[in-house]
């Protein structure tokens, strides 16, 4: 159990002071957003909103000034993230760039790529995509088949990536691929990360429409794409370790439990406090919100102290998805046959009920996460 332990974290006064500033900004910026628009959250792709956050200094908040960062604390950043998500701000355009691409480039290419790319991310101008999964690969990342062959001054890349969110808007894709063969005893060997310019010749981005008919993710085809040597991120052959470190950043943030919040809020406005079914059902969810917030914040505190909370982060994502997916089912239970067609509740419920399956798939499926947790418990 100890590998799963999360220590509580208290926000300091500086972080709390920032909260009021963010709330005032969002109250103004989002005042014309309907609940249904707010429900999009992470898949709300609005580059103008992202640029406004950059102007406020709320992108790359913790990064060093030499990369355009603002050198603020991880907890100040946490407050901004949770306020954006709780309010239903359209954060999809910059989310992966700010969460994982920036830190990855700063860590693994501090002298070459980070000075070129990261300042644009902090301004909200440079958008990033993550090329991990492939057709027939899914969760088994060591099986990726996209490969790079050495050539004069760089690499020639061939293959394809799938489920690549925002690739149709992004400027670059951080791509996991093979630069060398698997080893007999280690199929994770020979993997590397390359930065690919999505405007380069040979790159084709095709939309994949999700079951709601919306365009968020894509298939990206790479045909004889030239990538210069400078665009190798970190060490050749170290791709697995780099991706694993990157995924840990992906699993514990407030986006892992807040995705269905607009539906929860719509239910609160329709609920009857005298109806015990309403109070108990919504109260159970309130308790889980309170606890997941503390868990997510606790992991942020552990990251801030330089600890490695890979397993606690995995617990947050698994428990968070349970909450996010419980909310549409509670809405069905309480309001299934008694809501006004076209009402806010109806519209938000329509969107989130159909979005919910993705919450336990993206960023590591439930089964993969629980396998990691089981390892932390000493099983296998």
């Amino acid at each position: 159990m100890q590998a799963l332990d999360i220590k509580p974290c208290r926000l300091d006064a500086k972080a709390q002071a920032l909260r009021a500033e963010v709330r005032a900004f969002l109250a103004e910026e989002l005042k014309h957003y309907s609940p249904a628009e707010r429900a999009k959250g992470l898949v709300g792709l609005v580059p103008e909103f992202t640029r406004k956050l950059g102007e406020r200094g709320w992108l790359g908040m913790t990064w060093p000034a030499r990369y355009g960062g603002h050198e603020r604390s991880a907890l100040e950043r946490y407050v901004v993230l949770e306020e954006l998500l709780a309010a239903g701000a359209p954060v999809g355009a910059h989310w992966v760039a700010e969460r994982q691409s920036g830190p990855l480039l700063i860590k693994f290419s501090p002298e070459v790529l980070a000075p070129q790319i990261v300042p644009g991310i902090t301004r909200g101008e440079t958008l990033m995509a993550i090329g991990m999964s492939e057709p027939d690969v899914g969760s088994d990342l060591a099986a990726v088949r996209t490969r790079a062959k050495k050539t004069e001054g760089g690499w020639i890349v061939n293959g394809s990536k799938v489920w690549t969110s925002g690739a149709h808007l992004a400027h670059y894709m951080i791509t996991l691929l093979r630069t060398g063969p698997k080893e007999e005893s280690n199929r994770r060997a020979g993997l590397s990360q390359l930065l690919i310019d999505l405007k380069a010749p040979g790159v084709t981005v095709r939309p994949i429409y999700n079951m709601l008919g919306e365009h968020d993710f894509n298939e990206v085809f790479l045909e004889n794409v030239f990538v210069p040597d400078d665009f190798v991120i970190g060490q050749l052959g170290n791709g697995w370790q780099q991706v694993t470190a990157e995924l840990a950043l992906e699993r514990s943030g407030p986006e892992r439990y807040l995705s269905s919040t607009q539906l929860y809020l719509a239910m609160l406005d329709e609920a009857d406090p005298q109806d015990s079914r309403h109070a108990v059902g919504l109260g159970r969810l309130a308790a889980r919100y309170a606890t997941l917030r503390q868990m997510s914040l606790g992991v942020a505190g552990m990251l801030a102290r330089g600890e490695n909370p890979a397993i606690p982060a995995t617990v947050v994502k698994d428990q968070g998805a349970l909450l996010e997916q419980a909310i549409p089912d509670v809405a069905h239970d309480l309001f299934g046959d008694q809501r006004e067609p076209g009402s806010d509740l109806d519209q938000v419920m329509r969107f989130l009920t159909q979005s919910a399956p993705s919450f336990s798939l993206r960023g590591g499926t439930r089964e993969i996460l629980r396998g990691i947790i089981a390892g932390g418990l000493g099983l296998r």
């Binding site: 907890l75 830190p103 308790a287 606890t291 089981a374 099983l379």
Partner: protein, 373 residues
């Protein structure tokens, strides 16, 4: 991976030295003495008197009492390893109740008597009331923990507190028990007199024993949840079926991971509530304490985790876990009992749900971040 990133302002929640000392001593004591034999003898109707004496010799009942009043002066976080250990080892003693009762008496400036003390919140689980001066009690209280064992009861009615000698003629007792065979008795007070009265200064907890009793049960539940996880993981790694340990089966790994995740959530909720309780009792909570909210959250999470964990633990253990011989039932019978006591998860969920509905879409997030719903 973020060595390049600027980190400040993180509160690491490291245990205090006092908490570590308390944890070490209670773990040593219970690991040695709360044996299968002791628990079997307890289930057969024998009180664990020798263990109680050792607990007293270690000063545990007075852990939450200030040093000036003869206790250890531990705050709630410091003393929490005792509550966790009661659950982890399933120690069959009125220790959690006595610790809380003594803390309340000391807080009200009253003397803490020798011996074990039980707890009653007037108006909950019966119709017992204190009269205006607190000198007399009238009415019935059900599911009173350890009433047969305890000489004393502490009764709260609002912020008024009374210490009552249960061995007086005007108190009658009918024995009962929870699923774990722990005493849960019915007491009838017929104009019974109290031996001392006082006032609490815990205005943020309108029903202090009901709230703090829920916190204590949530703490002991977390201890028992951790024991259930440990037992299930141990068994899954040892038990071989179809040529390999059953813990290698993905389906069991999935169950156990979910059980451990729910346990981790309950532990976090309890840690947060303990920190608030420490602040409130130290007078450090300021104008408003988040404790009532934090306790409701903790009891919901601990109760829900108990439901899941008892089910998974038994499924993993198979038939052997359903035998009297195996020790699993000492844990699971307590999970099923304690999730009900001092308000079930549904009870506290209803409290939270009403507050959330009242806050509405405008106020919910503010209430959640302030923990003031």
């Amino acid at each position: 991976m973020n060595t390049a990133i600027n980190y400040q302002g993180a509160d690491d929640g490291t245990p205090s030295d006092l908490q570590t000392v308390i944890a070490d001593s209670v773990e040593r004591l219970f690991a040695k003495h709360v044996t299968r034999e002791l628990l079997e003898r307890f289930d057969a109707g024998h009180r664990a008197d020798a263990l109680w004496q050792q607990v007293v010799d270690n000063g545990l009942p007075g852990a939450l009492v200030p040093e000036s009043a003869g206790g250890s002066g531990a705050n709630w976080l410091d003393a929490s390893p005792v509550l966790r250990a009661i659950g982890y080892w399933q120690a069959p003693l009125p220790l959690a109740e006595t610790m809380l009762a003594a803390a309340l008496l000391a807080h009200a400036g009253m003397e803490v008597p020798e011996g074990s003390i039980t707890l009653i919140q007037a108006g909950r689980l019966g119709d017992l009331r204190l009269d205006q001066e607190g000198g007399h009690l009238e009415g019935r209280a059900v599911n009173v923990p350890w009433a047969r064992t305890c000489r004393w009861a502490v009764v709260a009615d609002g912020q008024r507190l009374a210490l009552v000698d249960l061995r007086q003629a005007a108190v009658t007792l009918a024995a009962g028990s929870n699923f774990a065979d722990e005493e849960r008795d019915t007491l009838v007070f017929a104009n019974s007199s109290s031996q001392a009265t006082g006032h609490l200064q815990l205005a943020d907890l309108p029903e202090p024993i009901w709230h703090l009793g829920a916190l204590v049960r949530a703490c002991t539940l977390v201890g028992t949840l951790e024991a259930a996880v440990d037992k299930a993981v141990l068994y899954a790694n040892e038990r071989v079926q179809f040529g390999k340990p059953i813990g290698k089966q993905q389906v069991l790994q999935q169950y156990l991971a979910q059980m451990a995740g729910a346990t981790g959530a309950a532990r976090m909720a309890v840690q947060v509530a303990l920190r608030s309780a420490s602040d409130l009792f130290l007078g450090a909570a300021g104008n408003h304490s988040t404790l009532a909210f934090d306790i409701a959250v903790a009891k919901v999470c601990a109760g829900e985790a108990a439901t899941l964990a008892a089910s998974v633990a038994h499924q993993v253990h198979g038939a052997i876990g359903f035998t009297h011989e195996h020790t699993l039932h000492f844990a699971t019978r307590r999970l099923w009992s304690w999730r009900d006591e001092f308000g079930s998860d549904a009870h506290w969920a209803k409290v939270l749900g009403k507050a959330a509905i009242a806050a509405g879409s405008e106020g919910f997030w503010v209430g959640l971040t302030d923990r003031s719903l």
